[in-house]
Symmetry: D2
Subunit: 349 residues, 4 copies
């Protein structure tokens, strides 16, 4: 049993869906009202060679078992003239691909979320809390475009998004400071301090602090009040670093949420946290989380509260729309016993 | 160039999305209005050992690279106590898994849909008409529950769903005949005749014809008018046969659409055709389509008209709801150059 | 600890190679003297679609990641004109491919061969008794062509090769009875009785018993004395059944060794037992072994005595040579922690 | 048709085995006479995470589908108590694993070795010159331990082994210069010049030139006369660099054979060239060969002469024996249509 605040037992002793239980029919209908233009945006990274991934993780492999080149080279069509292409995908979603973590993905001790025995996660797959329990997710998406709020292209590697910053972004969407945080505002926390240091290190990308101070307040990146069942989508902008240099993507670590931000999200009873970094929390240059066990982001959100986590999203296009509310849709594969599913999250704008 | 009726050029010479182009923002907003209860239903088959697939196709493989049993057996946790499960999926979607065909999946001659050169589909993936062009699909779903309309558990293997039957179901949703078709109604076509024969062969499952004649008219399974951009979801009930006997699933072939039903769908300008059989069209006991090349279901729908095809859906739960209209959502993986994506189609009821 | 006769501790408490330890340098040099013509024969089945495998086992998958058809269809060569083909193999050796079992493949209780803790075989691979401990095997091969000895094309599905039959074949290589065993000779055992029944069931393949009685004594299939470190290669002929009918290959079970034959082999201190069936022992129509646990073939040979087992060999070509002694060579992949390796066993004749 | 010196047509118009045809029975028997101690040495690298491979190549993946940890965690045994471990290997041999290239692996123009049409190498595998044509290889192995001959731990990245150096090593096995080559002896060639530069760059590893001059002549690393059908095994020592630093393994390129060395080998009619580098020839820091097309090592050896190439061997243990002649054995998997096979080459000493 966990002792920290948690949702164990809240949805019944057999529950394997966590806060997805909040997505009742009426909730879903209300969420649909956030569609304004009807544009449908993919928030998944393209799956192909050379996309962001953590070092040491196996890159997705895609093989054609029959293709057009074969026919061009003389392979006979099927029957009277039918030609076809067929393929195979090998994918290890964690750390390589936009994916949704199942509630069986991480734990401490011997129990998964809700007290399910971890030993039931074995070579035949997870017999508890597998990804097949998700079904479909349709809810309101609330977007926190943190670098836009701070007037940055992307967060520095050692930036940790604090609860204070989320509060500020949610409560004062019209007063976004365009990076004033980095210059050391009154809301400064340890996380912000870290960001300050990073800002200095980010010199080659331009004089971050100076440009920020000069910038006018902006609403870009500002979100709205977060509530039960929401999917909170948080942008760090970190995938841009890969496009500049795959080495740099991992060398200095990755920005992410601070532990207090995770607690802030659990207090608001969200259903999904989705981020464009690899691990929701930040990573140090060794590729590890710096938080002590009780503050581990996955343990706070996924293990204790049954909040599903989506990672490695592509949020650059969403950022360009300026939208902070939309319909958020996930349709993870019904992979029985899966610890995750590759996904293509949708935003209906 | 194809000479039969087609959509080549209609959406521009470079188009790779076919009738998905009809899903404009206003179309999507209108589609969302079909959500009534807000319940979200998965229409994907569970992915695991022992689910329906075509003979000779490689079953999806799912491997755990670290799991709870390892920790139970003594593997040391990561860092201060973190434990995790990780896995890998190998999947060849066609014929094995609920999936969406890309427009590069089938063709005749040397050109894909819209005249794209088929030779561009090579070992590195499809450089034209790959599944990544789909993005997300949000549209109205219209459900044709054919066996329910005919008063059957599932269609017989040699049943071919005719245009006449679709018309009847769409135009007279209140007058469903509960299987009168099988007894040889006035709308009889070659396809229906085939069904008659199958009805006799289906003896062990109960006296199909007799039971049907006695049944009262019913609206179960009856659909509504089909229009541009719709996702037409067609149930044959065939997956039930697998659950009785995997051998029987393929031995006698599979029920499916007749060629004139495909033309009926192209005339109504649908965006997606989704079915619970393996190939949209029917299969004979040899596992092949009986249609001549010009009537091939994939060529009519996908190749000539750019209509995306989803196969191997699980529609038993949807059938139980009695709903014929709903919001239909697809979020195929953004697999660059993919000939298909495994999917978990959603119905928002 | 096991209580039945075993080799645990014999080669030291840390041993992970079993009777392969008998293959000292002098033993290898002596073995090489059995090469007479220098012809090198492959005893591995071709790896491709449609070869013998047990039901439910995943067929090897082979994918080309670049090939000649791509270049024929216009893919640009590398550099100034270099073209290349590259590929990927997915293989689960047990039950699908000619392979060598590692000593970690089977056990009862909590200990592997030699008392190694079975819990050390986890998702990261076998930390004890993995296939990488084999290295290379060069020893004398001794061939028991049982169907040839009995005057049959292949053994019936329920035939179990008894110790008595092996003794007879080894001691009287010149007096082979050409199938008299099947007709119920004085050496009859329970295993032979089973074979008698099978002979009757095998009617459609020809009048086994009758033909056998008529046959003259023959030396075909007769082996020679078996000794320490030998690789005993045993032919059932069962792969022929697949070539006639893949369904028949598994429907009636498979012929194999009886438990007393396994004990006969352990008494002779062999290093390898190699067979062309799927499980060394026989299988019943349910695909299972009929022996009680203490008589399980894998437990007797592999678990208790550290004798490596090779399965699914292709022995038809070797049978055609009439040779009973040769140099037997195995070069399993050095797959660290592997439970098996696909192999291409060689006979140097 | 190729115009440079070649073996096309030499072994018949249908030949797909090249100089392996030289391995007649008498040749094999003669080769066996080179076994002296009977020790059997594996020349394959262990297959596991973190072994030498070229950048961008997919690392072998090894998954357990059932293992001891599962049983320790409560999975029920099979039947009365049988427990087992099973696994799956995904391997793309080129650039990742000790492997043998098939004759279909590389070519220029539209023809494979012996004029076979390259378009026959398509998604279903190579219909010409696939690895299944190799069978088993048993021949004399002749070892060129180049760094030992030169008094180095390993060759520098830009070292190219010249024909002159091979001649010297083969003709004067007793007069090995212990690295005098690097100091610029009379046999200097362009390749040696490159080595000279590398020697300077190799400063941190010790004063190469100086140490070499001081060293006494040695026979370590010296080979013997090379003849028809031999397997020539050439050590660069480059895998040691990986063990020091995986980054360094590829950053500066790799040492390898010069084009004139390849021609030297074709003149001696060898059957196999096996090396511990990744590409037989050297690689520049971009990971490419520097030779013009007519001098490409794979084209000279494999494409024009049908000489099989084995790469990424582990030769450190062989080097430690001081042996230059032995029995060399290859048993590549009979992967039909394969462009390569992972292998565990054996040296019978």
């Amino acid at each position: 049993m966990v002792h920290e605040p948690n949702n164990w037992g809240r949805f019944g002793p057999e529950d394997q869906r966590g806060t997805l239980n909040l997505l009742t029919g009426p909730h879903v209908l209300a969420a649909l009202s956030h569609a304004v233009t009807g544009e449908v945006l993919s928030l998944g990274m393209p799956i192909r060679r050379g996309r962001p991934r953590l070092p040491g993780r196996p890159e997705p492999q895609h093989y054609m078992s029959i293709d057009g080149a074969d026919f061009a080279a003389g392979t006979r069509p099927v029957g009277a003239g039918l030609r076809m292409a067929d393929d195979t995908l090998i994918v290890s979603p964690h750390g390589t691909t936009t994916h949704l973590d199942a509630l069986c993905h991480m734990w401490s001790g011997d129990e998964l979320y809700n007290g399910h025995p971890a030993a039931q996660v074995h070579s035949y797959g997870a017999r508890r809390c597998g990804i097949e329990h998700v079904g479909g997710v349709v809810t309101r998406g609330v977007f926190f475009d943190v670098p836009a709020y701070l007037g940055l292209d992307h967060l520095p590697a050692d930036f940790r998004i604090s609860a204070t910053l989320l509060t500020e972004m949610a409560e004062h969407p019209g007063a976004g400071a365009g990076g004033a945080e980095l210059a050391g505002g009154p809301g400064g926390t340890e996380s912000h301090a870290a960001a300050g240091g990073a800002g200095e290190a980010a010199g080659p990308e331009g004089a971050v602090s100076g440009g920020v101070e000069a910038g006018p307040p902006t609403t870009r990146g500002a979100a709205v009040a977060v509530g039960p069942g929401d999917a909170v989508v948080i942008r760090t902008g970190w995938p841009q670093v890969w496009d500049r240099s795959p080495d740099a993507y991992s060398r200095d670590g990755q920005p992410g949420l601070a532990a207090d931000a995770a607690r802030w999200l659990t207090e608001r009873d969200v259903a999904v946290v989705a981020c464009d970094n690899a691990a929701i929390g930040g990573l140090n240059p060794q590729g590890l989380a710096d938080e002590p066990l009780e503050d581990d982001l996955h343990l706070i959100l996924l293990h204790r509260h049954g909040i599903h986590l989506a990672e490695l999203l592509w949020l650059e296009d969403l950022a360009a729309t300026g939208r902070t509310e939309f319909v958020f849709v996930l349709a993870p594969l019904r992979l029985v016993g899966g610890t995750a599913s590759p996904i293509n999250p949708l935003a209906i704008l």
